[in-house]
Subunit: 333 residues, 2 copies
Amino acid sequence: MDDVAAAAGVSRALVSLVMNDSPKVSSERRRRVLDAADELGYRPNRAARSLAQQRSRSIGVVLNDLHNPFFAEVIDGITDAARADGLHVLINSPNRDPELEIELVENFIELRMDAVVVLGARGRPDRLAAAGREIPLVVVGDNVPGVDVVMNNDRRGGEIAVEHFAALGHQRVAHIDGGAGGGAFERRDGFWDAAVARGLDVKVLPGEYTETAGREAVDHLLAAGPLPTALFCANDVVAIGALDRLDDHGFRVPDAVSVLGYDNTNLSQLRRFSLSTIDQPRYRMGCLAMEQVLKRIAGDTSDPVTHLVEPELVPRRTTGSPSPSHSNAGGPS
Amino acid sequence: MDDVAAAAGVSRALVSLVMNDSPKVSSERRRRVLDAADELGYRPNRAARSLAQQRSRSIGVVLNDLHNPFFAEVIDGITDAARADGLHVLINSPNRDPELEIELVENFIELRMDAVVVLGARGRPDRLAAAGREIPLVVVGDNVPGVDVVMNNDRRGGEIAVEHFAALGHQRVAHIDGGAGGGAFERRDGFWDAAVARGLDVKVLPGEYTETAGREAVDHLLAAGPLPTALFCANDVVAIGALDRLDDHGFRVPDAVSVLGYDNTNLSQLRRFSLSTIDQPRYRMGCLAMEQVLKRIAGDTSDPVTHLVEPELVPRRTTGSPSPSHSNAGGPS
DNA sequence: CGCAGCGGTTGAAGCGCTTCAACATCGACT
DNA sequence: AGTCGATGTTGAAGCGCTTCAACCGCTGCG
């Protein structure tokens, strides 16, 4: 920096002002400084800058599962919102290791990020909350007491499924559960309660977020008697498994049975599946998380808040009215 | 840090030694310092540390497409290898914007990362090469002249496809091209050359890395006369599109026509598809990239090198011997 | 007794930047 | 002519850490 100042024939402080494009520099000197910097291949040192400025102008994102495309879109929202405020976004991934997750959050604190966003929190809630006391911290996709949270209204997602089925005229419905997966409880309870409230014949099968779980649940359903006419799956992958198994047994979808997924993943969009599903506004979740971060950075110290975003039905070709000509009680028609 | 030193009754320098767990500190004082740090909730400031140490002990990864699961596994390899050497990994994503990609590389330079890895380079090669002169820089998945590169041997991938088809006894084969997508040229040329060398009847259809391209290519193929008995698709998504369209027309796979994808994505693993495909050793690519980075960090200044990794056939249920009883010349049998 | 050697510790300089009080310059206004 | 404000510019202090030469107090040796 001294070299640049010397080359441009100004003081070091002036170079600094130029680098932070302060308005109080004559355009002629600014140009001279910029030229000199270019000439010398000078690059400001951000470590030194954040040390001096006491802030880094960047926020850290702890992305628990790089393989899960769900979060990619959330990050799009985060980065777009951050970029609009001149903040940089730095990501790291603990690869689903809860212990590592906390470490990486702490690493971001040591890096003096201005804030941290955790996507798909798996670490101990109390430790996350403790970190939240050291630095603005918002969690996306999971409910962690004591910190700011942005979540999908999964309970409402379950209700939407029931409403969709009811509108199509279904009476006997079932849900394949997502086990301990994120949001699975809420989806199940929302579905169950809404179905009961409408007087539908409802059934829940245990499962998890895998294709195999979907296949097995269909087998159980078949063993247990007449198939329900509509099947709400905990997520798209489960739905794919169920669809596959239904096809094995010769059931036509949606004539014999309607299938509804959750998440609107790229899978559901494949022509072959054209899976009706329920979308979570991921991009919006990212934006909301960033808005909350900005508030905290600006000095808002009010109690932690929870933002709920609303899921939305994406009807495709796997749901329809139950066909009266089909009796799926005893097998394929 | 002064506070910690005071609380522990030692000098600031000693605290620093403890924080870098130097061996020259008595275990009693070490404990006292650690306790005091804990007490005061002290966290070392890594910005200050990298300023003083002149290195950050972290490497930056520019991940061009967060939505592409391909890179997730590469990053697994990178992080595992980095962690083994006590390096942190920081990721950021330009979201396929070439201009932004360069900016983010430069941002990592300003952050004084020890090295940068670019996944799926889209930026101007000359600017990447220029950045490579300022900092150790390795590119994964694309060929950029003047920098270290780790790539899959896509040409060999095309050859493997031919070998597979030939071993199954196919005579008339075709390829749906990936257009300008990464590695598409090489896959196509490898396939073509190997097929010609074996005297096969070979045909190439233009395409791109989309489902629609797969569907359309099948339509073209049908319009052009008798279907080849084996179809090598530029990647899995294209193959899914092709499969779907073949199914629409009533062709049985693999009896009437074999279909081979590329990438071994999660799609190909779905039971419904069980798509035969060609796998790229992604994790290994990450490790290799990291090894190269470590060499450069250690001071290796030899000419840029290119590491080629070998693809591998993953046979599933969409490829088989052409069935002599099937004549697919005039439509489904 | 003196000194080398050693584990352990200290003070101070410096990493590259920001920032602030203070200063210089100059045109405009009383 | 003198003063004031606006506009630019400067030097120096300080951000939180590392590191190195120097130092301290001790043991063990000749």
